[in-house]
Symmetry: C2
Subunit: 683 residues, 2 copies
């Protein structure tokens, strides 16, 4: 925090009070909050908030909102489940889902919810394990300590433990989660209102979206007892009110070096954006063919659109010369201070240069690493890859395996592979065809990998053969191949397995090379910079986001843009004004029908100045009484640059208001039983 | 030249001999050529070469190869004609085209060929006209002098005159061309061999592509007399031989300022690449639906792929830190020298800062300018736009019109609008839908233009309505609307005309704003920098490419890459080794049939170190006797960065060898009459 503050202070004195930071629960700046808002959360408050919060393993946040396992998250976070439960005949994405009894709640295939029950600092242990090592040995030692610590901690399949690197290796914490693997769908509105405004309105405000859904966690076939939980606030957030957001921000890169950021700006972000744009073009085109094509490609298209806009936001920030120069100045300030002290200079001074060289080397390897260690966005390819890799890894000692295949992670692996999720062959074919086309274009038709994969086939003919030939859509076969290990993989004639088998040897080779020459160098030197930063600025700061639980604070607050004031609330009536009748601005029949009944003045969406980022979707927004006043579902367009730095003037979290959700449950959906469970009036 | 030499000299002494430069015919460095190769072209030689060379108005180069109007260019330059003449039943793209008699030669819709007959320097006149002016007045004066000079020069519809700005406004030349508007297709091979290797092999070498075609220019219904012309060399280019390339390089930006290049790197290039990628994804997907979908989208897809790869090459160059820092050093060197002289500092010193500010302002306006002054890659939209704009512009005095609508350009305008070219509705719908989707995404759903264009429609429903409703595919209607002027446009109920009419007022407004605040500032200050450059480095240098005739010199020469030597020739036999049977590596039946007959050892494709860029496609490669030894059809991947700087070690031109073309005409196509016309043995 201090680091950024130092800089901001040069701009304006009041900036010192900026509500910046995605804080870990064990280092929350209570005093800052007290100073700014007159409320100081105590340890009991923090513990209650942490234990009422949850994480969707698939990449979202959530919270418990009843003592009986009821979970609140976003519609777009539950959409994987809603879509997987849908068929051409019964389309819950289109029509919504509403279980009026617990018996009607449906199991989400492959959903997992985690609750953080313990944080342990094991920095000293990790440092001791990697002391004096570099390159391959450093990587091996890191892997080994992570595997053994996670294994020792994960004493049952209901427990998940993650070694989390914070402050770019400045601290290593062991996070222990309770796992809920029986997750059921309770309620989801129609996509037309859950994602009203679609991609055009995504990351924008004013906004009108009922982006919420209810899930329920079960244990032993019964609703889990979840206490503590967040009480639902009837009134919800008010203008200027202090709001906390408890969630799992995915990735910020604010502590990266300039060499890394320039590389993102010049190479990795543009390349990713181009690839997303091409895929999006293809799938949108496919979706025009008809309703079923639209439905089966919807999930992938939503993900592509969302990533595309989010990454463009990052790119926008990095190509803003003023913004970038500020980051350069920050780095120079730290380096100057390090170099001014002979001892620090000796210990840390070379780290930035080392990272810059590693980044350069990384670029030379990037294409090959990407194509051998990545893959098309295909479920079938993903199954094959996981199965073939699991076979290779499982025979190794636990401490030498890739993280996804350690004993501690085995329950997750098995759950993932045995879940019954639909596969859409035409969509699979598209993503594999495009991946092969680009592989050939980027590695060249004469590269060993291109030749070995394509032979005399074209990308289109091979994609077709792979998708129509593989049987990996069958959970039973996957289970069998996982259990059978290397022998089963070697014996399998499944074309997708054989396809992946051609990639794996090269994948292992270039991954090792990359680890030795690039990532270990970066990790090693990031650790040094983290230490330098602690030495220069102290430790009362927050680490970059790592999809682990964080708490941010702020208040309900609009902003000013191009001289125009954006007020912080929209209301339900505005939704009807914005509707055009054509997607993505078409309202579902239920809303059209409820128009006269719905209380138009009730707040619908709103913004706060909390510091959040992708992964925070589904986060509870709570007041100082730890009551639920809203639900994060987005950030405004400016918040996207938040990956690299927080701008309190412009960055905003966007949420669904608790009163708006309640009013919809009441007046549109007549969800009496849910309102009762939430402790809300039913009329 | 000197400017770049100064820099290169610091790297290696021999670099002074680099065969760099796209020289104008009136300032060709004869002495340099003599020094390097012992041959000094005289004025008669230069005149003959200029008059034997040609330009396709659509964006390629070409040459006359017989006294009877026979024109040689690339297959990919003639593809617009070949595709427009094709139908689902008679697909000349797939099957090739071969007129064995002149009577069988088919008129290319909307093709024009230009031959440069005169160059006049009118720098003083232009400078006098714009002296002391800035902003809107500067733009108006520039427009007026261009219009009046071009009009005075273009004394008949057979003459076309272009005011060409060279050296970024350092010189203004009036180029007078003879126009050939009756262009007919004589010969085109099958696309499978004309574009063998397709996109994966594009910009690569070794290479195997018969990328040539023959056209013929007619006058008064008879083959035009074209003397001088290039005699076809039977032996063709040999290793290390001196080779000249005469053609029309489209755009280089080597004299831009760093602010402009950084802007291309950070903003305009990534944005364009993303848009191309999305369009490519959509059209490739559409093409998978069937043969006819493939055929009707082929032309657009080729263009997208080609631009995509070319612009990625530029991007690669700019994000290469070493390359970019070299450019920064160059600019700093010039600015230092300018600032060291008080008089120069006063005259020129502020120019770089002015451009930087204008570029920044340009970014703020870019999205709106782009969407109002650009449009989807749609023929129908293009027709509507041209018609509506022509009506508005034609009532203005000639000197105040947009350049495309001056009296001097009227014949081209009429020819373009009355040409009968096929329209593919499904493809039109795709490009318009995507354009509307992106317009809404980038301007926002609440922008006045978005609202006025979309109303309550979705991009898909509006695109469908526009394409199915418009009648602008009919040449007669277009002719009528052009003749009818504003009254006819206002009265027209054609939905595409009405659509465009909604855009035009805003387009005019923001274009004026852009001209005043951005482009005029850039132009004005580029002129100043050009003058500074002449003052510091002298005038024996070449200007940036502007799609006007240029001559480059060099020699047949391979290169070394990653320690591997790339030899400069491939031969015909190699084609059969590379063929897989699947597109784009599938040979056409004619080649499979001719395999035993064809002389495998004959050179097929080859490389030289000439300095070329996009627009040079179709350029004759000639020896010192002005005989045709090859045909440019590509540059290697390194040449793409040539937009910003020439690297003699890596940049290569790629050509089809004259002996290879002759052998194909003989042994595959039995084109006796063509061989005879070219003065070649028929057996």
């Amino acid at each position: 925090m201090k680091r950024l503050l130092l800089l901001t202070l040069t701009l304006s004195a009041s900036a010192a009070l900026a509500d910046e930071g995605m804080w870990t629960f064990d280092n929350f700046p209570k005093d800052k909050v007290k100073k700014a808002y007159g409320f100081e959360p105590d340890q009991a408050w923090l513990d209650k908030v942490r234990l009422s919060s949850a994480r969707l393993a698939g990449g979202c946040s959530a919270s418990f909102v009843s003592p009986n396992g009821l979970v609140l998250t976003n519609h777009h976070c539950a959409r994987g489940c809603v879509a997987d439960l849908s068929t051409a005949k019964q389309d819950y994405m289109k029509n919504g889902f509403h279980a009026r009894t617990q018996a009607a709640e449906k199991v989400c295939p492959n959903f997992e919810i985690n609750k953080l029950v313990e944080i342990r600092d094991i920095t000293d242990k990790v440092n001791a394990a990697t002391k004096g090592l570099s390159g391959e040995k450093y990587v091996a030692a890191q892997k080994a300590i992570a595997a053994s610590e996670e294994k020792a901690c994960a004493t049952s399949p209901d427990v998940r433990c993650d070694l989390v690197s914070l402050y770019q290796g400045g601290r290593y914490h062991l996070y222990k989660y309770q796992r809920f693997q029986d997750v059921r769908l309770v309620f989801a509105p129609e996509t037309d209102i859950g994602f009203f405004g679609g991609d055009p309105d995504n990351f924008e405000f004013p906004r009108y979206a009922l982006d919420f859904a209810f899930l329920r966690v079960y244990q032993d076939g019964k609703p889990a007892k979840t206490d503590p939980y967040f009480k639902w606030s009837q009134t919800g957030a008010k203008d200027k009110e202090l709001v906390f957001i408890s969630g799992n921000p995915g990735t910020t890169l604010r502590l990266q070096t300039i060499a890394q950021m320039a590389n993102a700006r010049d190479r990795s972000l543009p390349a990713t954006l181009q690839s997303l744009a091409e895929m999006r073009g293809a799938l949108d085109q496919y979706a025009t063919l008809g309703k079923e094509q639209d439905r089966t490609s919807q999930g992938l298209r939503f993900g592509l659109d969302n990533s595309y806009k989010a990454l463009r936001g990052r790119q926008e920030a990095l190509v803003d010369h003023d913004f970038f120069n500020k980051l350069v100045k920050q780095e120079n300030d730290l380096r100057m201070k390090v170099n001014a002290d002979p001892e620090m200079k000796k210990q840390y001074g070379a780290a930035w240069g080392e990272i810059e060289r590693a980044v350069k080397r990384g670029n030379e390897l990037a294409t090959l690493v990407g194509y051998t260690n990545g893959g098309p966005r295909s479920r079938l390819f993903g199954y094959a890859r996981t199965l073939a890799e699991a076979a290779e890894e499982t025979v190794k000692p636990d401490t030498e395996r890739l993280p996804a295949y350690t004993d501690a992670r085995r329950p997750s692996l098995e759950a993932r592979l045995s879940a019954s999720a639909p596969v859409h062959p035409a969509v699979e074919e598209i993503v594999i065809r495009i991946w092969l086309t680009n592989l050939r274009a980027e590695l060249g038709p004469d590269h060993e990998l291109t030749k070995s994969l394509l032979g005399n086939e074209s990308p289109a003919s091979l994609a077709k053969a792979l998708v129509s030939g593989t049987k990996l859509s069958q959970p039973a076969l996957r289970k069998q191949l996982l259990a059978g290990g290397q022998k089963a993989i070697d014996a399998s004639k499944d074309p997708m397995i054989r396809f992946v088998a051609k990639i794996l040897p090269l994948a292992t080779k270039v991954r090792k090379q990359y680890e030795t020459e690039v990532s270990s160098v970066v990790d090693r030197n990031e650790e040094l910079i983290a230490k330098a930063r602690f030495a220069v600025y102290g430790t009362s700061t927050y680490p970059d986001a790592t999809f682990s639980p964080r708490l941010s604070y702020g208040s309900v607050k609009g902003w000013v843009e191009d001289g125009k004031t954006i007020t912080p609330f929209t209301n339900l009536a505005g939704t009807y004004d914005r509707a055009t009748g054509k997607e993505p601005f078409a309202l579902p029949p239920s809303w059209i029908k409820a128009k006269s009944k719905i209380k138009g003045e009730v707040p619908f969406n709103f913004v706060t100045n909390n510091d959040i980022i992708g992964g925070n979707s589904g986060s509870p927004m709570i007041n100082q009484n730890a009551e639920l006043v809203g639900l994060v579902f987005d950030g405004n367009i400016h918040s996207l640059g938040g990956a690299y730095g927080f701008d309190e003037k412009l960055n905003r979290s966007v949420g669904v208001h608790s009163a708006g959700m309640a009013e919809a449950l009441r007046s549109v959906y007549g969800a009496t039983e849910l309102l009762q469970e939430l402790g809300l009036p039913t009329k």
